[in-house]
Amino acid sequence: MTRFRRQLYLGLFALLAATAGALWLNAKYSTLANYAFLTGWALLAGMFILTIYNVRKKLPFLPLGKSETWLQIHIYLGFFTTLLFLIHLKFRLPHGWFEITLAWLFVLVSGSGMVGLFFSRVLPRRLATRGGEVIFEKIPAVRHAAKTAAEELALGKDAKSPVIAEFYAKRLAGFFSGPKHFWLHLAESRRAASALIAELEDLRRFAAEADREKIEKLAGLVRQKDGLDYHRALQLALKLWLFVHIPLTYGLMIFTLLHIVLVFGFSGGAR
C-alpha cells in the first residue's frame, strides 16, 4: 500500500472512530450539568496541543521527536477538535458578535488547515510530474532572464522582423512582464500557454526562413516561462495557506482565553 493511501485510510479511520466515540459520549453524557465545561476544557487542551506544533518547529535542535509524527498527530487531533467544537456548540449556531467571531476564527483555522492538508498531499506530486524544479525565491531571477532573452530575440539589435516585434509587443510583452495565470495553473489548465504556442506556430508557418528559428526559440521561452509560472502558482499555494492558518490560530487562542474569562466572569462557570 502506498504511503498516500495508508495515510488516507488511517485518517478516515481515525475520523470515523473519533466521530463515533464523540457522538456516543455526547449521547451518554450530554445531560450532565457541567457537560459544556467538560467539552470546553477538552477543546482547549486539543487546541493547545495543536498550537504547540509550531513551537516544535521553532526548536529543531531539541530532541522533540520527528516533525512528521507531530504533523500526523496534528492532523488527527485537528479533525477531532473540529468535532468537539460542534459538540461544544451543541450543533447550534452561536449567538452574539463575540461568539460568532470566535466560531468564525475556529472555522477559518480548521478550514485553512484542511485546505493546507489537501494542497500538501496533492500539489507536490504535480510539481514533480511537471519537472523543471526551481527554488521559489529564484523564480523572479529566472523569469527576468527569460524575459530578457525573449526581448533580445524580438526587439534586440539583431531583430529585423517587424512581424515578430509586433507579435511580441501585442501578445508576449504582457506574458513575460510578470507571473501569470495563477488560478489556471492551480486548476491544472494549460489553456493560456497552449494558445500562445499555437499563435506562435501560426506565425512560424508563414514567417520567412530566417525568422523561423527565432520563433521556435520564442516558443521555447514561452514554455519555460509557463513552467516558472506553474511552479510559482503551486509553490505559492503551498505557502499561502499557512499565512492564514498560523496568524488566525493566535487570534483564535486569544479569543478562546477571553471566552473562558467571560464564561467564568459572567456566568458563574460553565453550565
Binding site: L62, P124, L238
Partner: protein
C-alpha cells in the same frame, strides 16, 4: 559554416610534474640513492623510464623537528621515503584528536542545547573566540611552499606514547596511498632537520610494475599488515582454519583500476556530458573465463550487461562486496555445464581490489561452505536476450532511471546522502530553517540539486565512503569523526586553502568569509578576509540526529546510505 574545433595538444601522463622545482641534480642524486640505485633501469618501459618517474612523480620535502608528516585517519595519495634524518611513528595510545588539529566533538549538554535559543548570532558565519582559540597542542607554520603542522611538545608525546623510530632509507605510507584507505598511523619528524622524498601514487604504481624488489616488498607488507585481518573479517572465509586462510592470503592477487584522481576527471566528464559506462576500465568482461572472485577493498564498481549497442547498469558494488562467486560456484558444481562471466564489472573512479584465484576457491573456500550458503546455480547464459538475471532485481527495485542517475552521478559514494522525494516535498524549507537554527543561523546545504523523476539529491555533504575532499588537507582540519565516521571540518585549524572545496565532486562544500562576534570580517595582516570551508556536519553535536531529517513534516527528506538500494527502494515505496 560550422564552428572550427578547438585543437589542443593531447594531454600526456607528465604534463604536470609533482614538483616543477625538481632539478637534474636532484634526479641524479636520487638515482644514486637506495632503493633507486638498486633498480635495473633497463626493466623500465621506454614510455616511463626511471629517471622521468623520479623527475615527475616525486618531490623532495624538508621538515623540521616536530612537524607532522601524516596523521592517522587522513587520506593521502602518496608514500614517503626518508632521505635524511629520522621520523617517529606513534604506536599506542593514539594521539588525541586535538593534537592532530581536529575538533574534539561531543554531544552538546542540556544548557548548550537550550542556549541556542538566545545565543544565535545576527551576522552570518560568526566564529566565536572560544572556537578560534581552541587549544589544540599543534601549531601551523608556513614556509614558501606549504603549510606545516607541528607538535608543540614532542618530549611529552614521547613520554606518554609508545613510538618507533624510522630512519633514512625507510618507506612508509605506501599501502594507504595505493589502496586509497585511511592512514593507520601518525608519523612526525624527530630530528632537527629531515629530508623526505614524497612519491605520488602514480609513480609508486609504475615503480612497482618495473621493479620486482619493490613490488615484492610492498606486497609482503600488505599481506603482513592488512590482508590477513581483512580476510578474517570477510564472511566468505569464516569457516577456514588459520592454515587455510594463510594459503588463501598467499594466493591473493592485488589490482587497482581507474583513475586515482577521479573526482577532478569526473567533474570534467560530467560537465561535458560524456560519462559513459563504456569508457570505464573493465575489471572483468562479460563472457570472460572466470579467473577468480573479485573482492572490492576500496572504491566502487559497476555491474553491467551488454544491451543493444551499449551497456546497461544492473547494480553497483562497493567496498566489502564480492563479484564472480556465482559463476565459480556454478562451475565447481557443474563441471559438464560450465558458464563464463555473465556480467561485466567496471571500475567507477578508483577501485582497489583483491582477486582470489578460481583454483584456490575450488580447493579451499567452496568446500568449506555449507550448501545453504552457496549461491544458486547460474540459470542461463548471458547471450539470451530474454533472460532476466537475478541482478536485474536491484534495477527493478528502484527503477532503471534512478539506478542510472545514481551511478552516473556517483551518488552511491554517499553514506548519508540527503535524498528528497519530490512527490512528498511541499518546498516549505523547514529543513533549511532547521539546519540554520542548529548551526548558528547558517544553513549548511542547499535544498536543490540534480533530480531524476521524483528523486532529488540535494547539495549537502554526503559523508562519502571515499572522501576525496580529505585528500590534501594540509592541516587535517577536515577529518572523520572517530566514532560515527561523519566527515567534519574543524574551523579552528581550517586555513581556507580550498583544497576540500576543489576536490569535492558534488559541490557540497562552501567557502565563507568568517566574522567575529561583532559581525566584522576576520582579516589577516594584509587585511584580506579569512575564508573557512563549511559543510553539513550531520548535526554531530546535537541529540536526535540530523535536524533537517527530523524537521521534515512530510517524511520527504532522509539521510541515506545510497550503497544500500534496498533501503532506498523501501523508502520510496513507503
Amino acid at each position: 559554416m560550422p564552428d572550427a574545433p578547438t585543437i589542443l595538444e593531447r594531454p600526456q601522463r607528465w604534463d604536470v610534474a609533482f614538483d616543477t622545482n625538481m632539478t637534474d641534480e636532484d634526479v641524479n642524486r636520487l638515482l644514486f640513492t637506495a632503493p633507486f640505485s638498486q633498480m635495473d633501469v633497463e626493466k623500465f618501459p621506454k614510455r616511463t623510464p626511471l629517471r622521468e618517474i623520479i623527475r615527475n612523480d616525486m618531490r623532495i620535502l624538508k621538515f623540521r623537528k616536530g612537524e607532522i608528516i601524516m596523521r592517522q585517519g587522513d587520506y593521502g595519495t602518496s608514500a614517503f621515503l626518508i632521505l635524511q634524518g629520522a621520523a617517529r611513528v606513534v604506536l599506542k595510545p593514539d594521539l588525541s584528536p586535538s593534537l592532530l588539529g581536529r575538533q574534539a566533538t561531543g554531544k552538546k549538554g542540556v544548557f548548550r542545547t537550550l542556549a541556542q535559543l538566545w545565543n544565535r548570532s545576527r551576522a552570518p558565519e560568526v566564529l566565536p573566540r572560544s572556537i578560534l582559540g581552541q587549544s589544540s597542542g599543534v601549531s601551523a607554520r608556513q614556509d614558501e611552499n606549504a603549510t606545516r603542522v607541528f607538535l608543540q611538545d614532542v618530549p611529552r608525546i614521547l613520554d606518554q606514547h609508545r613510538t618507533a623510530e624510522m630512519t633514512a632509507g625507510e618507506f612508509f605510507g605506501e599501502i594507504a596511498a595505493l589502496s586509497r584507505m585511511a592512514r593507520t598511523s601518525t608519523i612526525f619528524v624527530d630530528s632537527d632537520d629531515a629530508e623526505l622524498l614524497e612519491i605520488r601514487w602514480q609513480g609508486l604504481r609504475d615503480l612497482m610494475k618495473s621493479d620486482d624488489a619493490l613490488r615484492t616488498h610492498i606486497n609482503k607488507i600488505y599481506r603482513e599488515r592488512a590482508l590477513a585481518s581483512y580476510l578474517r573479517a570477510t564472511p566468505l572465509f569464516k569457516n577456514l582454519s588459520k592454515e587455510q586462510l594463510d594459503r588463501v592470503a598467499e594466493a591473493v592477487e592485488f589490482a587497482t583500476f581507474g583513475d586515482y584522481d577521479w573526482s577532478g576527471e569526473y567533474k570534467r566528464l560530467a560537465q561535458s556530458g560524456s560519462v559513459r559506462p563504456e569508457k570505464e576500465p573493465v575489471i572483468v568482461g562479460q563472457g570472460d573465463y572466470p579467473n577468480g572472485i573479485v573482492l572490492l577493498r576500496a572504491g566502487f564498481a559497476r555491474v553491467s550487461q551488454k544491451f543493444g549497442g551499449g551497456e546497461r547498469t544492473l547494480n553497483y558494488i562497493g567496498a566489502g562486496q564480492i563479484f564472480g562467486l556465482n559463476e565459480i560456484a556454478h562451475n565447481w558444481r557443474n563441471e559438464d555445464a560450465t558458464v563464463n562471466m555473465q556480467f561485466s564489472l567496471r571500475a567507477i573512479g578508483y577501485t582497489h581490489l583483491l582477486i582470489v584465484p578460481t583454483r584456490v576457491m575450488e580447493e579451499i573456500v567452496l568446500p568449506s561452505l555449507p550448501k545453504s550458503e552457496l549461491p544458486p546455480p547460474v540459470e542461463k547464459a548471458a547471450d539470451d536476450l530474454d533472460f532476466s538475471p537475478p541482478e536485474t532485481a536491484t534495477r527493478e527495485k528502484v527503477g532503471a532511471e534512478i539506478l542510472e542517475f545514481l551511478t552516473e552521478n556517483r551518488f552511491f559514494n554517499g553514506t548519508a546522502t540527503m535524498v528528497i522525494d519530490l512527490d512528498r516535498c511541499t518546498r516549505c524549507d523547514d529543513c533549511v530553517r532547521a539546519c540554520a537554527s542548529t548551526h548558528d543561523n547558517n544553513p549548511r546545504f542547499l535544498r536543490h540539486g540534480p533530480t531524476a523523476g521524483r528523486l532529488m539529491i540535494a547539495n549537502a555533504c554526503m559523508h562519502c565512503a571515499d572522501p576525496v575532499c580529505m585528500i590534501g588537507c594540509p592541516t587535517g582540519a577536515i577529518h572523520r569523526e572517530s566514532f560515527a565516521g561523519q566527515v567534519v571540518i574543524n574551523p579552528a585549524t581550517c586555513i581556507g586553502c580550498k583544497s576540500c572545496f576543489t576536490n569535492c565532486p558534488y559541490d557540497a562544500i562552501r567557502m565563507v568569509e568568517a566574522r567575529d562576534e561583532r559581525g566584522e570580517f576576520l582579516v589577516d595582516q594584509e587585511m584580506k578576509p579569512i575564508a573557512k570551508a563549511t559543510k553539513c556536519d550531520l548535526c554531530v553535536e546535537n541529540h536526535g540526529g540530523p535536524s533537517c531529517e527530523r524537521a521534515c513534516p512530510h517524511g520527504a527528506l532522509t539521510r541515506m546510505n545510497l550503497n544500500n538500494l534496498d533501503a532506498l527502494s523501501k523508502w520510496l515505496k513507503l
